[in-house]
Structures are given as structure tokens and as C-alpha cells.
């Protein structure tokens, strides 16, 4: 029992920090925002260290199988904590969120991080559902945090409406699963399903309901409609957090749920095969292809920079699904590598778009014209992040895309891989459009350049340097991802 508490130390640290932050927020008035942010960061650092310490224990289930603490969940916890820290630091560089609302923002970020950490290791239907709701409620609030912005309110309402539908779908799916297996633990459920599989139609319905709910969380094809709206409407730092926090948590729960409930270990180690009569990988492959194509084509037509990036995120999701549907450890390791790259790339993109938004008060492509001349370092970083996101050849993101396309080809999904390559080309061209609008009329513009503050340079460096290192030492990251998977508790 005591060991169980040790294993959930990261979550405990997060809860304590959250409590401290809320207490501080209530008791103090005035200029205490820095203190609150500092407290949150210290708490996140503590949780980070705790996660690293947890690596020494072998994979285990705690509290009677409610949570499964394994390499897989630890990997995701590290990502969540890092993205939350970036979200908290970046908000102090932008003015989109009013000063007096930042303490609340910090507490919402911490709450969402707690929910994500739990979701990544949840192995229990009820906990999955509760943390799913917990995470999304925090996200709705965050999306509506823009100051006096109609778009932000609209984003929050749309998010809420879609979220309600998604939770209902998830609830139905979980209810059917519970009714037919009489178990709320996904591992026990796996054993029951192995012994007596569900009838195909029931399996199909359960799968579709659950997958639709998850595709809301990760922004895949049928539920992608809200992604660009939310990412466009929410304030910059929040868009960054939503695209790398809750969405990544969605990947964690999707992978665990699909692999444990709908698949069984395959003939060779590190491989799974579909459980039951329905080959759902075909469904996922269609969804993946449609996400890539729709995302890429719609991104190409956008006139708003944030919206364009929102559609590129949908393309990314399509790519990741390609790594998941092959049911192969190498594929999932490739997904994890891409998530690491995305963490830095998307954070940087939304942060810089927020910074540019403050300067020109718009994120329309035609209004961004000529910003390169005024802020050279920021625009160069933005272009580098964008190229990383779409996986243009010399960038670390390209290694990730290669890994994903590679597993698809290895598993003879050539058509899907071709769709992926086409999507990559179209998204590169969209990025070129955005980059060209930044260049604008470079030669004749006479606007003075705006100096970049030291703290902003430092923040950008803290994104660019790890991202570049992840490309140079790609081998290390791949091995780490592979190791996280080998420690997994299936």
C-alpha cells in the first residue's frame, strides 16, 4: 500500500501544488501573479523529478488495478509536465490573458495536467471516464479565456458541445463493454474478451463509439471540425497547451485502450493482432487517410494563420494514427518520437503566433505581410517550427515522418503511405504560403525592427535547442520510446 503511494508521487505533488496555488490565489491580492507562477513551476519541477524517480520501479498496478504505472505512462507524464511548464512560462510573455486572471490560468493548467497524468495511466473504465471529463472541463475553461474575444467564447462553446457528445459516446461504449464483460478493469476485460469474444456487430458498435470519443480528443477525421475553431479562438498559449496537452493525453488513452481492449499479443514479440472478428485497423486506416487529406487540403485554403496550423494539427493526427494502426511496437515508438517533436514545434508556433498577434493585432495572412523585416529572429524560429511540424526534409520532424511512413510500408499499407506523402507535400506548400506572407514586401518595407527581449530569446532557445537535439540524437529518443514500451504493463 505504501509503495502505491510512492508510485503516484507525481500526482500527489501536482495535487499539493494545485492546492497551494488555489489557496494562494484566494488569500492574496494584487501583484502576486509571479509568485503563483513560480509556485506552479516549482511544483511541476517536483513532479518531473518524481516521474524520473519512478523509472526505477518496474511496471506495476496500484490501488487494485485502477492505475497502471509503467514506462508508457511515465513517458507521457514527462511530456505533460513539460508542456504545462511551457504553457505557464509562455503566458507571461503575451498579453492575451489579463494579468489578474493568470493565477486562475495557472490553476487550470495544473488541474488539466493532473487529469492528463491520471488519464495516461488509467486502467479502469470509471477512472478513464472521470478523468476524461475532468480534463475536458478544464480545457473548456481554458479555451474561453481570451480577453474580450468573441472567437474565444465561440471556441469554448463549440468545444463544450463537441465534448458533451464525445463523453456521451464514450459512456455508451464503456457501458456496453461493462455489461458484456462484467468488469471495469481493462486488463480483466481483455481476458474475458479473449475467452469469449463479443459478437461482431456489438464489437463494431463498441469500437466505433469509443473511437469517435477518442478522435474528439486527438482531433481525427469525423470529430476534427472543432480543432481549427478551438485553436483559432483560444488565446495563443492556451492553443499551444490544448494542442500538445489534452490532445497528447488523448493519444495515450487511445493507444492503451485500443491495444488492451481491442487487440491481443501477436505471434512475435512487440506485435499485436486484432481481437475479435472485426478488423478495425481498416476503419482506423480510412480515418487516418481522411484526416491527412482533409487537413492538408483545408489548411491550403486558410487565410488565418492559427486556423491553418489547426488543420496541420489534424494532418499530424492522421500521421500518428498510421503509426498506431499497425499494432507494432516500432510504430508506437515512432508515434512517441513524433509527439516529442510536436511538443516543441506546436508550442513554438502558437507562442510566436500569439507574439505576432500582439504586434499586428491579427493573424490573417494578409495582415502578417512583412513581419519578417520587423522581427527577424522570431519569424525565422516560426518558420523552423512550421517546417518541423510538417516534416520537411532537413528537420527532426522529417525523421519522425520517415519512421511513421516506414512502419506503414513495412505492414504493406502502401496506399495509406502514399496518401501520407501527398499530404506532406500539400502541407509543405501551405507552410510556404504562410512563410511567404511573413516575408511580404521585404525589399521596400521601411518599418523599423522591433528588438526581441532576452526572456523571449531564452524561451525560444529552450524550444529550438531541445528540438534540434531530438533530431541529432534521434537514436537516443527512439531507444527511450522503445524502452518505455518494453516496460509497459499490458
Amino acid at each position: 500500500m505504501l509503495k502505491d503511494f510512492f508510485l503516484i508521487m507525481p500526482e500527489i505533488v501536482l495535487v499539493l501544488t494545485l492546492a497551494l496555488v488555489i489557496a494562494g490565489e484566494i488569500t492574496y491580492y494584487g501583484e502576486q501573479t509571479r509568485l503563483i507562477a513560480a509556485t506552479s513551476l516549482v511544483g511541476l519541477l517536483g513532479a518531473f523529478v518524481q516521474v524520473l524517480i519512478s523509472y526505477q520501479y518496474s511496471a506495476s498496478q496500484v490501488f487494485g488495478g485502477v492505475l497502471s504505472i509503467d514506462g508508457f505512462s511515465l513517458f507521457f507524464k514527462l511530456l505533460f509536465i513539460v508542456s504545462a511548464s511551457f504553457a505557464i512560462i509562455s503566458v507571461s510573455h503575451t498579453r492575451e490573458i489579463a494579468l489578474d486572471r493568470r493565477p486562475e490560468y495557472c490553476s487550470l493548467i495544473l488541474a488539466a495536467t493532473l487529469a492528463m497524468c491520471l488519464l495516461a495511466s488509467a486502467a479502469d473504465l470509471i477512472l478513464i471516464f472521470v478523468t476524461f471529463l475532468f480534463l475536458n472541463i478544464a480545457s473548456y475553461f481554458l479555451a474561453g479565456y481570451g480577453r474580450k474575444s468573441v472567437l474565444s467564447t465561440e471556441a469554448a462553446v463549440k468545444y463544450l458541445a463537441f465534448g458533451a457528445v464525445a463523453s456521451a459516446l464514450l459512456l455508451y461504449s464503456l457501458a456496453i463493454l461493462f455489461a458484456s464483460t462484467h468488469s471495469i478493469n481493462i486488463y480483466e476485460m481483455h481476458r474475458v474478451l479473449l475467452a469469449s469474444a463479443l459478437p461482431p456487430y456489438e464489437m463494431l458498435i463498441v469500437f466505433m463509439l469509443a473511437f469517435l470519443a477518442f478522435s474528439f480528443q486527438i482531433g481525427a477525421f469525423p470529430m476534427y471540425l472543432l480543432v481549427p475553431d478551438v485553436l483559432e479562438g483560444a488565446p495563443g498559449p492556451v492553443s499551444a497547451f490544448l494542442s500538445i496537452g489534452p490532445r497528447v493525453a488523448g493519444f495515450a488513452v487511445t493507444i492503451r485502450f485500443l491495444v488492451v481492449v481491442f487487440a491481443q499479443p501477436g505471434a512475435s514479440a512487440g506485435n499485436w493482432q486484432v481481437l475479435g472478428a472485426i478488423d478495425w485497423t481498416e476503419i482506423v486506416s480510412v480515418i487516418s487517410g481522411l484526416s491527412m487529406i482533409f487537413g492538408a487540403l483545408l489548411a491550403f485554403r486558410q487565410k488565418s494563420a492559427k486556423r491553418l496550423v489547426g488543420y496541420l494539427v489534424v494532418v499530424e493526427t492522421g500521421f500518428m494514427l498510421m503509426g498506431i494502426l499497425v499494432l507494432d511496437e516500432i510504430g508506437i515508438a515512432a508515434v512517441l518520437y513524433n509527439l516529442v517533436i510536436e511538443l516543441f514545434a506546436l508550442m513554438g508556433i502558437f507562442y510566436l503566433l500569439a507574439v505576432l498577434f500582439e504586434k499586428v493585432n491579427s493573424d490573417r495572412l494578409e495582415n502578417l505581410k512583412g513581419t519578417l523585416k520587423r522581427t527577424v529572429p522570431e519569424c525565422i524560429c516560426l518558420i523552423v517550427f512550421l517546417l518541423n511540424l510538417v516534416g520537411s526534409p532537413p528537420m527532426p520532424g522529417f525523421i519522425g515522418k520517415f519512421a511513421l511512413l516506414g512502419v506503414a510500408i513495412r505492414h504493406h499499407r502502401l496506399a495509406l503511405a502514399s496518401v501520407g506523402v501527398i499530404a506532406m507535400v500539400i502541407s509543405t506548400v501551405s507552410v510556404a504560403r504562410l512563410a511567404y506572407s511573413l516575408i511580404g514586401d521585404f525589399q521596400s518595407s521601411t518599418e523599423a525592427s522591433i528588438p526581441v527581449s532576452f526572456s523571449r530569446k531564452a524561451f525560444l532557445a529552450s524550444l529550438v535547442i531541445p528540438m534540434t537535439l531530438a533530431g541529432v540524437f534521434a537514436d537516443f529518443v527512439f531507444r527511450w520510446a522503445g524502452q518505455s514500451l518494453s516496460l509497459i504493463f499490458w
Binding site: P394, A403, I409, T428, I439, F442, A474, D475, F478
Partner: protein, 499 residues
């Protein structure tokens, strides 16, 4: 031989590009030029220290990079790429010097040139397919910015065209790469391990159709490279850039990436697909012949220096393709030699035409009514006229100039195999003599057009950067022996694996 000259040569420019971004303009230019020259010295020392009469890879450096996917940092030089190392070593310091007085964003332009130098050195020396593609992909991006920022009126169209073509070509080559990688067991990107017909007879299934891997990979790769090379009918973006880009940028494109694209085509085809090369060579020769004809015919109708250069480049590419496809030792050696000479001659031509259009504000030499708009430069600026004359003589392959050796070898090598194409090549050379001399006459000779008076001859800086180009053109024309000795063993070994 365990020195790190190759790595130094590749990463010097990159370090320079980063460093020069953080210092004021006055000093940044010296850092940029210094970094480029340091890299070039490494490259030249590397080539001079190579053993002749050896076919193996030399100065090899190898260390694992992404072991998870068997990708390694594997660099070496041999007879095939040594000349391109020389070309790139010569090209980029010259380009940086030619943009010395750029008023707008000089650090950005020099930085992009340096990145390009790194990319091309890397692509040329890489002995691992992934690494080669990695650097080759890097070489596409700078052009988008170089054209998009410093281009002329139609730069938006030109730069977007460049990026569309580059990403399409990247996607095609990348698909070929992944196909090749997964077709061998254990999976590998190493050119050494993949060479010698490892792919022969392997099939893959695409939408229910069985296709041979080597055929599909060859098709994907050659179309991908043809997009960037440029090979007719994929050259539209190239002429667009010729029209819009600053002359130095177009020189970087046509004298830097074009020979490298042809080199990659030659190397990868010879190494990876020996068993289908018999029929593939016919396709390559066919493409080359069409390029020669189209390049020549289009060049005749041009009235502007910029587009004229683009079409000259197109027909030179055709000649090199003929050499590659001839599969005869002489023709292949000629193709390798001509890659270097194409680069040098295009550099000379592009820089001269850049100087002329900078001074006169126009690059059109005959207006729509057929009247000349320039003319009589020779009497007022003898040095620039001499340089232009040497460059043109080399492009035409006059004996004693660099182009002669390349042209002669390609034609001799192809004669016994494809006599018809040789006739086409001869015809196109005659055509080139006509249009180049017509151009030379209306720009440099005769009386100046009305309203065109003052023309300053080359300044010291311009002389300094044109000097190495002209010297190299003359030297390689008069004394090709050392370089031919360097190329020959490697080419012979490669061709012996095909037969």
C-alpha cells in the same frame, strides 16, 4: 586515411552561418566569406590529397546516427564526387563575394548561401541514402527564401513554384528511398550494402498490382531528380526563377544544385539498379536528347540574358544525360567532367550577365521590335567582354577551353552506341554557336544603342571573384589529365558491375 576534412568542410559553413547572424553587418560579411573559404580550402586539400588510380572510397568517415533505423553518418569521396567538391568549393566564396554590397538583409543572404554550401557538400559526399536525401532536401529550402525575399516583381509565383517542385520532388525521392529500405533484409540505407543488384527481382504489392521494386524506385527517383535538375518538360519553374531571382541566386541554383542532381542520378542509378540500367539508360539518353533539342530551340528565341542562360543550362543538362546514359567509359567520364564544367561556365555567364543587368538596369538585349538595347560594351569595358568571351567559348566547347574536354568525351563515348543522338548534339552545338554569338554581338560588339552610354568595367572586387572562375575554365581545358585520372578508375569499376 583518418582525417576529418569532410566533416570540417561540411560543417564550417553552417557554423559560419550561425556566427555571422549574431555580429553587425560590417563584420558579418568577413565571417561569412571566411567560413566559406575555410570550407573550400578543406575541400580542395581533400581532393588534392586523393590517390589517383584508386577506385575505392577515400577519406571515409562513418559513425552511426540513428541506429534504430540503421542510418549512419557515412561520408567519403571518390572519383565521381571529387569534381563536384571542387566545384562547390569554388562556387560559394565567389557567390558571397559577388553579393558583398547587398543592401537588404546581407546577413540573411550570406547565411542562406552558407547553408546551401553545407547542404550541397553533404549531399555530394554522403554514402548513405538517407543522409544524401537529408542534405539534398536541405538544399531546396534556401532557394524559397532567396527568391522570395530578393527576387524581382514576380517573386511570389517563382518562389512558390520552387517550393512546390522541391516538395514534390522530395516526396518522390523519399518514396523511392523507403521502398528500397524495406526491400532488403536487414533494412539498410548504406549505398555500399545496397549496391550490386541487391534489389533485382524483388517485387512489391501496390493496390493489388505486383511491381518490381527496382523499376518503381528508379522511376520515382529519376522523376524526382528530373524535377529539380531541370529536365524537360519539368523546367517551367526553372526559367521562372531565372527571370525573377538575383543573378547570384540563379547561379547557385544552376551551377550548384543542377550538377549535384545529375551526380545523384548517376551515382544512385549505377549503384542501385544495375540490372535494369540497360533499358533505363535508353530513357536517360532519350530525355537528354529532348533536353538538347528543346533547350537549343528555346534559347534561339530568347531576347533576355536571364532566360537564355536557363535554356543553355537545359541543353547542357541534356548533354550530360547523354553521357550518363551512354554507359561507355568515355561517355561516363565525360559526363562527370562536364558536370564540373557546366557549373563553372554557368557561374561565369550568370555573374557576367548579373553585372551587365545591374549596371544597365536591364537584361533584355534585343527589344520586341528587333532592335538592340545594349551593345558596344567591348570598347568601353574590355575585361568584362573578354571574360564573357571565354565563358561562351567554353560553353560551346572550343578546343582549349574547359567545355571542349567534356563535350568531346561525351560525344566520342556516345557515338558508337547512339549515333543519332550524337548528330542531334552536333546540331544543337551548331545552334548554340549561332545564338551565343548573336547574343555576344548584340551585347558587346557594334555601336551602343541610343540612350545607352556609360558602362564601367569590372571593379577590383569583381575581378577578384571572376578570376578563379576564368582560371579554372582555362586550366581544366588545357590540362584535364589529373582530373580524368581521378575519375576514370571509379567510373570503370562502376561500369564493370553493370556489364
Amino acid at each position: 586515411m583518418s582525417n576529418h576534412l569532410i566533416s570540417l568542410m561540411i560543417f564550417f559553413p553552417l557554423i559560419g552561418a550561425v556566427l555571422q547572424a549574431f555580429v553587425p553587418n560590417a563584420r558579418s560579411r568577413w565571417i561569412a566569406l571566411g567560413a566559406s573559404i575555410c570550407a573550400s580550402i578543406c575541400g580542395i586539400v581533400l581532393v588534392m590529397s586523393m590517390h589517383t588510380q584508386v577506385a575505392d572510397l577515400q577519406a571515409a568517415e562513418s559513425l552511426p546516427w540513428v541506429g534504430f533505423y540503421a542510418i549512419s553518418y557515412d561520408m567519403a569521396v571518390d572519383g565521381l564526387n571529387a569534381l563536384l567538391v571542387l566545384l562547390i568549393a569554388l562556387l560559394f566564396p565567389v557567390l558571397i563575394a559577388s553579393e558583398w554590397n547587398q543592401k537588404i538583409g546581407v546577413r540573411g543572404m550570406h547565411g542562406l548561401f552558407l547553408v546551401l554550401q553545407t547542404a550541397l557538400f553533404g549531399a555530394v559526399c554522403a554514402q548513405d541514402l538517407f543522409l544524401q536525401f537529408f542534405f539534398w532536401g536541405l538544399s531546396a529550402l534556401p532557394f524559397f527564401f532567396l527568391v522570395g525575399i530578393w527576387g524581382g516583381e514576380g517573386r511570389e509565383r517563382a518562389s512558390l513554384g520552387a517550393i512546390v517542385v522541391a516538395s514534390l520532388s522530395g516526396a518522390l525521392i523519399f518514396s523511392a528511398l523507403v521502398l528500397i529500405y524495406y526491400s532488403v533484409d536487414p533494412h539498410s540505407f548504406s549505398l555500399r550494402e545496397l549496391s550490386g543488384g541487391r534489389l533485382s527481382g524483388k517485387l512489391f504489392d501496390f493496390l493489388g498490382v505486383e511491381l518490381p521494386i527496382s523499376g518503381a524506385a528508379f522511376a520515382l527517383m529519376s522523376v524526382g531528380l528530373a524535377l529539380r535538375a531541370p529536365i524537360w518538360p519539368f523546367h517551367g519553374w526553372f526559367t521562372e526563377i531565372a527571370q525573377e531571382a538575383p543573378s547570384s541566386v540563379f547561379v547557385a541554383l544552376s551551377a550548384g544544385t543542377v550538377p549535384v542532381a545529375l551526380y545523384i542520378l548517376m551515382k544512385d542509378c549505377y549503384l542501385l539498379f544495375p540490372e535494369i540500367l540497360g533499358s533505363a539508360a535508353q530513357v536517360i539518353v532519350g530525355a537528354g536528347t529532348i533536353n538538347l533539342i528543346m533547350g537549343g530551340l528555346c534559347a534561339v528565341t530568347q531576347r533576355g540574358l536571364r532566360r537564355l542562360l536557363a535554356f543553355i543550362c537545359l541543353s547542357e543538362v541534356g548533354l550530360i544525360l547523354m553521357g550518363i546514359g551512354s554507359l561507355s567509359p568515355t561517355g561516363a567520364v565525360g559526363a562527370v567532367y562536364q558536370q564540373l564544367l557546366l557549373g563553372l561556365a554557368v557561374t561565369g555567364f550568370g555573374l557576367c550577365s548579373g553585372i551587365i543587368s545591374d549596371r544597365t538596369g536591364q537584361s533584355i538585349f534585343v527589344n520586341a521590335e528587333g532592335e538592340r538595347t545594349l551593345g558596344g560594351i567591348a570598347t568601353r569595358a574590355p575585361i568584362v567582354s573578354t571574360v564573357a568571351g571565354i565563358v561562351i567559348a567554353s560553353l560551346l566547347g572550343f578546343p582549349g577551353f574547359g567545355g571542349f574536354v567534356g563535350h568531346a568525351l561525351v560525344i566520342i563515348g556516345s557515338y558508337s552506341i547512339h549515333p543519332v543522338t550524337v548528330a542531334v548534339a552536333g546540331g544543337s552545338l551548331l545552334l548554340a554557336t549561332y545564338y551565343l554569338f548573336a547574343m555576344y554581338r548584340s551585347v558587346f560588339l557594334g555601336k551602343p544603342a541610343s540612350g545607352f552610354q556609360a558602362f564601367q568595367d569590372l571593379t577590383i572586387r569583381e575581378r577578384a571573384y571572376l578570376f578563379p572562375v576564368v582560371t579554372a575554365l582555362l586550366f581544366f581545358g588545357l590540362y584535364p589529365k589529373p582530373l580524368i585520372e581521378l575519375i576514370r578508375p571509379t567510373v570503370l569499376t562502376l561500369l564493370s558491375t553493370i556489364r
